[in-house]
Amino acid sequence: MARGILAAAGYLPHRRLDRATIAAVAGGGGGTGTRTVAAYDEDTTTMGVEAARLALAGLGPTGAERVDGLWLSTVAPAYADKTNATAVHAALRLPRGTPAFDANGSVRSALGALRAALDGAGTQLVVAADLRTGLAGGSDESQFGDGAAALLVGDGAAEAPLLAELVGAGSVTEELLDRWRAPGDVRSRTWEERFGETRYVPLGVEAWEAALKQAGLVADQVDRVVITGTHARAARALARQLRLGERLVDDLAATVGNTGAAHPALLLTSTLESSAPGQVVALVALADGADALLFRVTDAVATWSPRRPIAAQVRGGAPIPYGTYLRWRGLLPVEPPRRPEPARPSAAAASRSADWKFGFVGSADEGGEVHLPPQPLDQTPVPMADASGTIATFTVDRLAHSPSPPVVFAVVDFGGGGRLPVELTDVDVEEVRIGARVELTFRRLFTADGIHNYFWKARLVPAGGGG
């Protein structure tokens, strides 16, 4: 049976760091172009939720029910010991019987989760998210990016066809020390660049040829090729060696940066979003070996309309000063607000209200009036995470405790009913106005006692950002 990609989406955080602004502060480094920066209230779990929501958006309100398994992969998990994918599971309101697993730790783990899903059975949601940090002034800092991607992998069916069918795969594994990071470190370290390059290029060729052989294709039959990995120079060298020319897909290095574990899925998604039926698309990832996947794009892409195409997200966003980036990353310790630290949320209370806290499910009374949060006397749950609303009024709170003051708070009236005073995010104070349209986004309000307090905020609907 044909297996491949049923749905795909990428998520790029709103903020962009202009690399040219780095050197004036750090004394060096930087470069040209921009990188994406996760907001202070985002982590790999929240970005994964956003990507997965976008991926499932095209499947209609019952899309989540079709997911048989969830995989979350990152190098920068919000928790160790505790599974992070369960928060994604809760935010997406996946069925209780759908297992959720982390596949964390290395950049390659994301590709591994994708391979496992493609080789496995059922409909698997593979989410990869990363938050990539380097030391100030270093090349990693400027060349990395933050982001997430979600691929829904499964068998095609008439009512839910594949966007791209897997036609071949090849992998080569080799223990080699090129890039490594001690768990918890803000930076990774690398061996001399030339060593990795000379090792990785032949590994890539080997995986590429293995995939072609399995697909029964020759190199010239591949229309578009993604090459990415943990070694940027090796990726470029491999592209030259394969003589890809125009067939090489933009790796978003100039605008987004390398999003680590998320990058292969992010680039595959952006490629599918701009591919035509019948084209053969290759994904080659260099990380502790090499993996190559070959897909044939189906007719279904002709009628596919991604809710937030990656190209549109690349064009969007807003700048962030380098100092704020350093603050948000914890690399520039600043004086905290002179207010009490927020108390940690109660695990028991959070468990009782998981549908609300993670799933943004309100309630309705007998007359159909929607209540946010849900009211104990109401009988009908009302999922509201995908609702949009308008700002009835708002205020800017320069006194409230926040990891990034001031707090912008809006009273939001939702289409379909319900009102909630809710914090705004990804917003500059000057942009807020009464009547503006907002949508919900899953965020980390604060962390206390090592507990990440996840809940929803609202953000302005991006111009031309789709329903």
């Binding site: 002179r338 949320p345 209370a349 209540h371 205020t395 006194l399 409230a400 009913g417 809940f455």
Partner: protein, 395 residues
């Protein structure tokens, strides 16, 4: 079923109130001893003469032992009560009902708060374990949303409304400057207030209540016994309380230009007291000016100004010390300071002074003795979800 009230059945016969200030040198016990001691002396009684006690504090401690220990009460019933910023008023309400019922002859209500020991500016919520989804907005920010909403609904230019709010703060500072028990005793001009940077919405620190430590106490008995203790008792005409159900916060119809809990509470209070025209009948009002937009809207919710016209009445000086209806002649929360559990009884203390013509001459209101009724209004919570207390007292 009905709210009958206890009009003229209970009297306040003694009161005490500490200065509201940053009492670095006084603890909760000291403040309790100061306020209750003044009240005992005022009524000419001792702690043993009082049959039952209600002590209100929002965060000062738990249980009636909070009062029984510092006063070393022997075998007395003491109840600790809490109702957000209306806590002190709630203590009075319980004490008044207790003597009205005949259960006790003499009861004391005392409110106290020691907020300046926290190490942080402002008021800080008592941490109750939650799921972490609750709003974390400050009270200042919540009430700041009233200002643009009011401006929009009544077509008042925002600059003009800011001047109105500054006028309210300036008036309360003017009154507090004439009150030796007030936290802030400096007059502040409208211009000075308008020059302050915003901290929440359009509100600056000068739009916010003072944060102070303090305590206040009242002794109540049945009306027929009042003259045993004082020649000039203050009779309880109405005690009204409404606890909101929080619907305003989540109701798209709520527009932040009114506090429905207050309007309902006022209707009940006026019915209990038999008041038809509060603006003409009241000699004064102490209202809960936690933030300047709050006082503005209260003028309408309490029926002093027509809807949409309070801002003009403020500018016209209606609520000044020398106006038609002096509001917050003691300086209000703005200038007197706001020790949460004490504020409700502090308001009653000003009615006690003014109606008995014992206020210092420089802030004696001219409506007395022509008028004999005072209103105190005390709220807790936020626009859309608040508790409201109103008392009407008379000589």
């Amino acid at each position: 079923m009905a709210s009958h009230g206890i009009r003229d059945r209970v009297a306040i016969v003694g009161m005490g109130c500490t200065r509201f200030a940053e009492h670095w040198d006084k603890g909760l016990d000291d403040l309790l001893l100061d306020a209750t001691g003044e009240a005992f002396a005022s009524a000419g009684v001792t702690k043993d003469d009082v049959d039952a006690y209600w002590v209100g504090t929002a965060q000062g401690g738990m249980s009636g032992m909070l009062l029984a220990k510092p006063l070393q009460l022997e075998g007395k019933p003491v109840t600790r009560v809490e109702n957000l910023c209306a806590t002190g008023s709630e203590a009075l309400r319980q004490a008044a009902y207790a003597v009205a019922s005949g259960a006790y002859d003499l009861a004391m209500a005392v409110g106290v708060e020691k907020v300046k020991d926290s190490g942080y500016q402002g008021l800080n919520a008592f941490p109750v374990p939650t799921d972490g989804t609750q709003r974390t907005l400050t009270a200042a920010a919540m009430f700041s949303m009233v200002a643009p909403a009011y401006a929009e609904r009544y077509g008042v230019p925002m600059d003009e409304l800011k001047a109105v709010l500054a006028r309210i703060a300036s008036k309360n500072h003017h009154n507090g400057a004439r009150n030796p028990r007030a936290q802030f005793r400096r007059e502040t001009s409208v211009e000075q207030i308008l020059a302050m940077p915003p901290v929440a919405g359009c509100l600056s620190v000068f739009d916010c209540a003072g944060v102070a430590d303090g305590a206040a106490a009242a002794i109540v008995c049945r009306a027929e016994d009042a003259h045993r203790y004082t020649d000039k008792p203050l009779y309880v005409k109405a005690l009204s309380f409404v606890a909101g159900n929080g619907r305003g916060v989540t109701d798209p119809a709520y527009d932040y230009t009114t506090f429905p809990e207050i309007a309902a509470c006022a209707a009940d209070a006026y019915a209990q007291a038999g008041i038809a025209d509060p603006r003409a009948e009241l000699a004064m009002a102490e209202v809960h000016d936690c933030f300047t937009p709050t006082e503005l809207v209260l003028m309408e919710d309490l029926g002093f100004s027509e809807r949409g016209s309070a801002w003009r009445d403020v500018l016209d000086g209606t609520y000044d010390l020398t106006g038609d209806l002096p509001v917050n002649p003691d300086g209000g929360l703005k200038s007197f300071g706001h020790p949460v559990g004490a504020s409700g009884l502090r308001m009653v203390f000003e009615a006690w002074l003014q109606l008995r013509e014992e206020a210092p001459p420089e802030r004696q209101i001219a409506t007395v003795p022509g008028r004999t009724l005072a209103l105190t209004h005390n709220l807790g919570g936020y626009p859309g979800e608040m508790v409201s207390f109103i008392s009407i007292l008379g000589v």
